[in-house]
């Protein structure tokens, strides 16, 4: 039963909570997104910031996924000091609209893999595509889908995401600072990853295409 409201949200017909709202409107979302652009940029590409807080690429991500993250920021299930003031400006309709807007933008390329050495990229590719079962680290793609470009509305595309953002999220899951994943599916893997593995997989994913070419 629970997937019905999710489906409706994905179609933009209702909110996650099942209450009726006007259809999500990407054009209206574009206007609302004005408050997001300082960080996420006009084209939704975000920014990789070496040594600082990277802002994720939102362009081309699944609308229901973006919407769920915004709800989670609002409820406190996910926390981030930079996001908090902005998400609190959004009402339910605006969350739907802004999610639809970013989902409609063409995906941009990730940054942060420049200068990575071959051994690091090779290890990153192994973790992303095959995992390392000797430490029970399952591959990224076993949930994030073919080429890690996302699967359904729960598992976001991570290929072509900025290395700095992926790294920060894996570190947050590992430390228990982020835990809004269903059933600890991400947390349980992140906790088995070394800092080197986190770095390797982040730079490799950043170097990959965000959508099928």
């Amino acid at each position: 039963m629970k997937k019905i409201p999710i489906l409706l949200a994905a179609l933009g017909l209702a909110s996650y909570s099942g209450l009726a709202f006007a259809e999500a409107d990407a054009e209206r979302g574009a206007a609302t997104a004005a408050i997001c652009m300082a960080c996420h940029q006009a084209d939704g590409s975000g920014m990789n910031i070496a040594g600082g807080e990277s802002w994720p690429r939102l362009a081309g991500l699944d609308a229901a996924y973006i919407s769920r993250q915004l709800h989670d920021y609002k409820s406190g299930a996910r926390s981030n000091a930079s996001m908090m003031p902005f998400v609190n400006m959004l009402n339910e309709q605006q969350i739907q609209d802004v999610a639809a807007y970013y989902a409609s933008l063409p995906a941009t390329q990730g940054k942060g893999s420049e200068g990575a050495d071959e051994a690091t990229l090779k290890r990153g590719q192994q973790l992303a595509e095959r995992g390392d079962w000797s430490d029970y680290i399952v591959s990224c793609k076993s949930c994030h889908g073919p080429d890690n470009q996302g699967a359904g509305d729960v598992f976001p595309g991570i290929s072509g995401q900025h290395a700095g953002y992926i790294k920060a999220q894996l570190q947050a899951w590992k430390a228990g600072a982020r835990k809004n994943d269903t059933q600890d599916l991400m947390g349980s893997i992140a906790r088995r990853m070394s800092e080197d593995d986190i770095h390797a997989v982040a730079v490799w994913l950043a170097s990959q295409n965000s959508v099928a070419k």
Partner: protein, 337 residues
């Protein structure tokens, strides 16, 4: 434990180790990782084998052409959907059930087949070799039609199995550590309602509330747990104890041994109460088919029984799923006469 370790030192990747002490340490570390994940430690007389990886293959002293064929076998094993419509008629890959590329203990690692076959198999009542065993998986778990015996694809998959068994003696006398999907003790009572609730809570985010799984394009991300795109009624995992063993040891993905024994069995019982394509051993009559297969197989599943929630008799249909035939020609008795 010393005996176990000394055996392990003779097997698999450990052959590459320069001395026995290093091998023992490697094996101990392997066992420590597994016990930390909640798996039992090997018993003193059990054979512990660490199957070689694809990286080990690159460094192995094998003919380059053999390496190429083993890589092809690996590719078929982990992306069996490339045979869709030819040999595979559902959403399964070999690696959907044999996790960790067929290498993980407690996830029916596939290398034991390479060292214990040919052997008598109760399921079809005759001696099977490795190819026929693989053919069984295609017939039932993939709801399909096996690649021809001796074909390139069959040889490649066999080669991958044998590579994983590298260094293990043929017909080992010791029991094999982590073989199959060892089931937890069966609880006194199994509950459909509890299984349904647990499936919804713990499994449906990936496998869907209707067990449909998830596909992206022509690839399977999460396999269907029942229905036309899942294994048929003849697959080993329709047996409740096998499914309970798979679930307990492997699910949710990344969290082995996190569900209770009761939850694992309840979910398995719930799954065995759902429909799926017909058993290729079907005679046209579910009661007769049940009678033929009950002692060896279906006494462990819900096949042919009335579902408690609505009285539906499970398997009482002629639906073969996506394929147009019931039984592939390769499935036939052998008499060696």
């Amino acid at each position: 434990m010393i005996r176990t370790l000394s055996y392990a030192a003779l097997s698999g990747t450990l052959l590459f180790s320069v001395n026995a002490t290093a091998s023992d340490a490697t094996t101990q570390q392997y066992i420590d990782t597994l016990t930390e994940l909640g798996y039992p430690a090997p018993k003193d007389d059990e054979l512990v084998h660490i199957p070689p990886t694809m990286e080990d293959l690159e460094n192995a002293k094998l003919h380059p052409e053999l390496k190429r064929v083993i890589r092809k076998g690996y590719d078929l094993f982990t992306n069996t959907q490339q045979l869709r419509g030819e040999n595979v008629f559902n959403n399964m890959n070999c690696s959907s059930c044999h996790l960790g590329e067929g290498r993980m203990p407690f996830s029916a690692p596939v290398w034991p087949a390479a060292v214990t076959l040919p052997n008598f198999r109760g399921k079809n009542d005759h001696v099977n070799n490795l190819e026929e065993r693989i053919a069984g998986c295609f017939t039932y778990s993939m709801n399909g039609k096996p690649p021809e015996y001796g074909s390139d694809n069959m040889l490649a998959m066999s080669a991958y199995h044998q590579w994983l068994a590298k260094g293990v003696a043929m017909y080992p006398e010791q029991p094999i550590y982590g073989r199959g999907f060892p089931a937890p003790d069966r609880p006194e009572e199994l509950s459909y309602a509890r299984g349904e609730a647990a499936f919804e809570e713990k499994c449906s985010v990936c496998h869907g509330s209707d067990g449909e799984g998830l596909r992206v394009g022509d690839q399977t991300v999460f396999p269907a747990t029942w229905g036309d795109m899942s294994n048929n009624w003849g697959a080993g995992i329709v047996r409740i104890f096998t499914a309970a063993g798979f679930i307990k040891n492997n699910m949710p993905l990344g969290q082995p041994n996190s569900l209770s024994d009761q939850e694992s069995w309840d979910i398995a019982y719930y799954m065995s109460n759902q429909e799926r394509p017909q058993d290729p051993r079907y005679t046209g009559d579910v009661k007769e088919t049940l009678k033929n297969t009950e002692a060896r197989f279906h006494k462990h599943s819900m096949y042919g029984q009335a579902r408690e929630t609505d009285g539906h008799v499970l398997g009482d249909h002629s639906n073969t799923g996506e394929k147009s035939f019931l039984k592939p020609d390769t499935i036939r008795p052998r008499t060696f006469e």
